[in-house]
């Protein structure tokens, strides 16, 4: 053992060694650093970096950590942010913090874990959830929910069969084990994500308004404590190599760079942290995510303007043979860093022990302004922390509108042949309802626990997730995550605004007041000027949109390099909107639930089919310009819905988006099994009324007795409205009557509609709807003859003993 240790120490590159071997060749290019970046490091240090320092700079200056390509654009979120007295912490923190009232605040953020989820879907997605939850925890909050926004390649592509079940299993496996309800999100299939699936996870936490934790490593003499899982070789280079480079044939060989999650340890870490916060035992806290210890040490010291002396050999390791640069770069999950006053150290270690979590003092805060790291007495790192955390390179990369955009926009879907006759429209409704992007998501969402914690008021497939924060008052929040990346491909500026508008509307239709925004910006390579232009346009779109709506972007995440070879994904700016309820009992659900309620469509329908789901499903067409976005209209709808919720005027409300009115009717009827009779307006072609994807529209059901009050309130808000028909009885058909006799009318029994809507994902991914025949229980429960029981048992046992066919594909779970 001693011998091995000696060898390890002897082989390590130290500051002393670096000073006397200035010309040693270093693999900075392989680590993702450019020539000039390497020269800048040498300049900062006045010598060549040690191996450990080189690893640290390569990670911290990577795209993922430094935001070097996006920084110049993201500034707009701050510059254009409307003044908000709710905002307690914003951009640049682990997550934005919003005051809900004078006692309670929430913090929320969406973050990507795209690349790891392609390489190792289960663990990639699981640790994506784990990472965002620790960001929330680091702000001082108790995480209370998660959401996920997932994008995959074509639903029937063989690789989607590998990636989707793993990703869904990982999101569920980790979140379920943490006891966080998954209340919503989105699942989108598109060929552009074939080699680059997107896994964006959101979490929200609650904290007292005065309970915000800081990350600053203040107070020289204070102890630096590492808590949580042991540090292993997983995730090394995850940041620099994986997240900041384009995929190629070698990607499969990068499996070891994906982290492995242990949700049970994270659960213990959460409980320990919350006890530390409550007992006021810590000075500062930072989670260990991308860039692991390197990021946590340098960011906390840089934020405070202090320094740190760290003895790296004190870090608990999974493998004794790990070298300093590996320990510093490791992205092992479930770890937090604390800054603790010496007098409180014992209390901190005591709480860790109560929950059975490892906690280790690894260093002290100094006033040296340097982070010095030793390994068995030898200095291996001696750097100014700000040079890593704050002074990374910043690039104003070239932008150029994609060469094909003009042609793409000229190829409008409005010119495609569209069906007119009743039987064609009927077929189209069914075909659309069964298409992968519109069909029932239960196969996925049933793998998520939406009930745990007992405060979930609305969850998927509702327009927003709604969660109660306070049992006494009913205070609560609503959250929606949305993006239509086809719109963003056609026009990234308008597409980003449309994503914002949709998330805003999804929150508003439940009756909540939208107050803040988070975003996850998924794009191709920033080194491609066309991608960079899309990025710049999308950021400008969100920033302008938020300014117009009067709600700030509080934080988020950028994911570049989502491309394989020269082919980038569609620009995918996923937008999350947070809304607030004074009382969640006023929430408006989406499903029809009372016979005789009157149906109205709020908003205007135009002939807008470009980028629509219909154009894609029936013509595999993407071209033209996306629907017009009118944020003032969205705001008016929001104000109307909030008032309608408070006065109970609207029984159900459902946002119109992908698939238009037809899809909204499908979802609203099937939700609770109530039919509807709909009379399409005269001014529009029946097809357009059903399948146009014009923004700013909501389908509402109004109790017949409230009709007059409803119409008066609509007039007050100057909103266009069309009466559509009635909610019919439980089990009645969905009947659509066109205004012109030529088109006629059609009816679809709900059973037929449900079969189309719900059959798709189980057919593609297996199993979920196949049920063994119910056990024929004997009429008299207690006493039956043994002979009858054995005969009955034949079938039941055969089912029970069937070998689990899919064990192989699930084997990642046990690692």
């Amino acid at each position: 053992m001693t011998e091995m240790l000696d060898q390890t120490v002897a082989a390590v590159d130290t500051v002393r060694l670096a000073e006397v071997t200035p010309d040693e060749l270093q693999p900075y290019l392989e680590l993702g650093l450019k020539d000039d970046e390497y020269q800048r490091i040498r300049q900062i240090l006045g010598r060549r970096p040690t191996q450990s320092e080189l690893a640290m700079y390569s990670i911290m200056w990577s795209e993922h950590c430094s935001y070097k390509s996006s920084k110049v654009h993201l500034r707009q979120f701050g510059e254009k942010a409307p003044p908000s007295d709710r905002l307690l912490a914003g951009m640049g923190e682990n997550a934005g913090v919003i005051a809900i009232n004078d006692r309670i605040a929430v913090t929320f953020k969406v973050e990507s874990h795209n690349h790891p989820s392609f390489v190792e879907p289960y663990q990639g997605a699981a640790t994506g959830v784990g990472g965002i939850v620790r960001d929330i925890l680091a702000m001082g909050a108790r995480p209370i929910l998660v959401m996920d926004s997932l994008r995959f390649g074509a639903a029937d592509h063989p690789d989607t069969q590998r990636v989707l079940p793993g990703v869904v299993g990982g999101v569920g496996g980790y979140g379920n084990c943490l006891g966080l309800p998954n209340i919503g999100g989105e699942v989108v299939f598109d060929e552009c994500y074939q080699g680059n699936p997107l896994v964006n996870a959101l979490s929200l936490g609650v904290l007292p308004v005065d309970g915000l934790q800081r990350k600053e490593a203040d107070g020289p003499g204070n102890i630096v404590v590492l808590m949580g899982a042991k540090t292993g070789r997983d995730g090394i280079g995850g940041v620099s190599v994986l997240a900041s480079a384009t995929f190629d044939e070698a990607s499969q060989a990068r499996r070891p760079a994906v982290q492995v999650g242990d949700p049970f340890t994270e659960k213990l870490l959460i409980e320990s942290c919350l006890e530390l916060y409550q007992a006021n035992l810590i000075v500062g806290v930072q989670d260990l995510g991308g860039a692991g210890l390197t990021c946590a040490l340098t960011e906390t010291a840089a934020a405070a303007g202090t320094g740190m002396d760290v003895q790296l050999e004190k870090v608990h390791l999974r493998e004794a043979s790990m070298e300093p640069h590996e320990i510093l770069a490791s992205e092992s999950q479930e770890r937090m860093l604390f800054i603790v006053e010496p007098a409180k150290l014992d209390a901190v270690l005591g709480i860790a022990q109560l929950w059975g979590v490892i906690a280790t003092p690894i260093g002290v805060v100094t006033d040296s302004g340097r982070v010095r790291i030793t390994w068995h007495g030898e200095t291996v790192v001696d750097v100014p922390p700000g040079s890593l955390a704050d002074d990374g390179p910043v690039y104003a990369r070239p932008l150029r509108e994609p060469a094909d955009l003009i042609l793409l926009q000229a190829d409008r879907a409005e010119t495609l042949p569209r069906p007119h006759h009743d039987h064609e429209l009927r077929e189209t409704v069914l075909r659309m309802a069964a298409s992968p992007n519109l069909c029932d998501r239960s196969w996925i969402t049933e793998q998520y626990d939406r009930y745990v914690l007992g405060n979930t008021v609305l969850a998927q497939p509702e327009d927003s997730g709604v969660v109660r924060l306070d049992e006494e008052t009913g205070l609560g929040v609503a959250l929606a995550l949305d993006c239509n990346s086809r719109f963003a491909r056609l026009d990234p500026y308008e597409g980003a605004k449309l994503a914002l508008a949709e998330a805003y509307r999804n929150v508003a239709v439940t009756g909540a007041d939208p107050v803040a925004v988070t975003d996850c910006l998924n794009f191709g390579s920033p080194e491609d000027p066309a991608v960079m232009w899309q990025f710049a346009e999308a950021v400008r779109g969100i920033a302008d949109g938020c300014q117009e709506l009067g709600i700030p972007v509080t934080g988020g995440n950028v994911s570049f390099y989502n491309q394989t070879g020269a082919v980038a994904i569609h620009p995918t700016p996923v937008v999350g909107v947070l809304g607030v309820f004074d009382n969640v009992a006023q929430r408006i659900p989406m499903g029809f639930s009372h016979t005789g309620d009157v149906l109205f469509l709020i908003g205007e329908t135009r002939l807008e089919l470009s980028g629509s789901e219909w154009a894609w499903v029936t013509h595999q067409h993407l071209g033209g310009r996306p629907p017009k976005v009118d944020l003032a209209r969205e705001q008016a709808i929001g104000a109307f819905m909030a008032q309608a919720a408070q006065s109970g005027l609207v029984r159900s409300a459902h946002d119109l988006s992908d698939g238009g009115l037809a899809q909204a009717l499908v979802e609203s009827t099937l939700r609770k099994g109530f039919g509807a009779s709909v009379h399409l307006p005269e001014q529009l072609e029946a097809f357009t009324a059903l399948f146009s994807e014009s923004a700013g529209r909501v389908l509402v059901a109004v109790p017949a007795g409230h009709r007059q009050a409803f119409e008066a309130l609509i007039a007050e808000h100057e909103l266009p409205v069309t009466e559509l028909g009635l909610v019919e009885g439980e089990g009645a058909d969905l009947t659509v009557v066109a205004a012109d006799a030529h088109t006629g009318q059609f009816s679809i029994p709900l059973a037929e509609l449900r079969a189309a809507f719900s059959g798709t994902l189980p057919k593609l991914f297996g199993g979920a709807t196949e049920q063994p025949a119910p056990y024929a229980a004997p009429a008299a429960v207690a006493i039956e003859t043994v002979e009858i029981m054995s005969a009955e048992l034949g079938t039941a046992d055969a089912v029970a003993e069937e070998p689990p066919a899919a064990v192989a594909e699930e084997d990642t779970e046990g690692r």
Partner: protein
Amino acid sequence: MKIGVVTFPGSLDDGDAARAARIAGAEVVRLWHADPDLHGVDAVVLPGGFSYGDYLRCGAIARFAPVMETISAAARDGMPVMGICNGFQILCEAHLLPGALTRNQHLHFRNRDQWLRIENSDTAWTNHFTPGQEILIPVKNGEGCYVADQRTLDELEANGQIVARYIQGNPNGSTRDIAAVRNTAGNVLGIMPHPEHAVEALTGPSLDGLGFFSSVLKHLAGVGVPA
């Protein structure tokens, strides 16, 4: 009446079980896995979750927790104990209930609103229901497939120990659609679905879950609580 709710490090639905007991009118006492003292409670709920991570067989470690030794002894003396989901798994591992819970047949975690038929109301936890009553409460588990050898199953049938069955679809492949079983005395109940998630109109699919908690209060009132 005092109902104790146990918290293991990985318990998740302990707060929900406590809320449900409170709504039913009980005084709730939180019990800690490492503390063998039951603090004078009259009944115990073992809540859902992942007790110690459950990377090994679910409940296999929890059965050895200090609090479980006391609970096992008390259960054998007649104290009402309900294990929900992970709690059911722990009761089976502790041999307070027969059978075992294995991986769902379809291999996925599944969360949905589930109809059950109450088959037996002769327990401390189901006396509020009538046999044959159909109730709606959420199910959510990855390892909820109840199995036992044929003889045990036949005995359970014959003794009326099958307390609830899944109807309108079996969510996990459970043998004979079994959702809940009791011990022969009727004081110990294991149930895979989650009554504690169906106690408020705002957050649950029904109020049917409350019946389990009001049952035990009625039971305790009937037998008299030891001083």
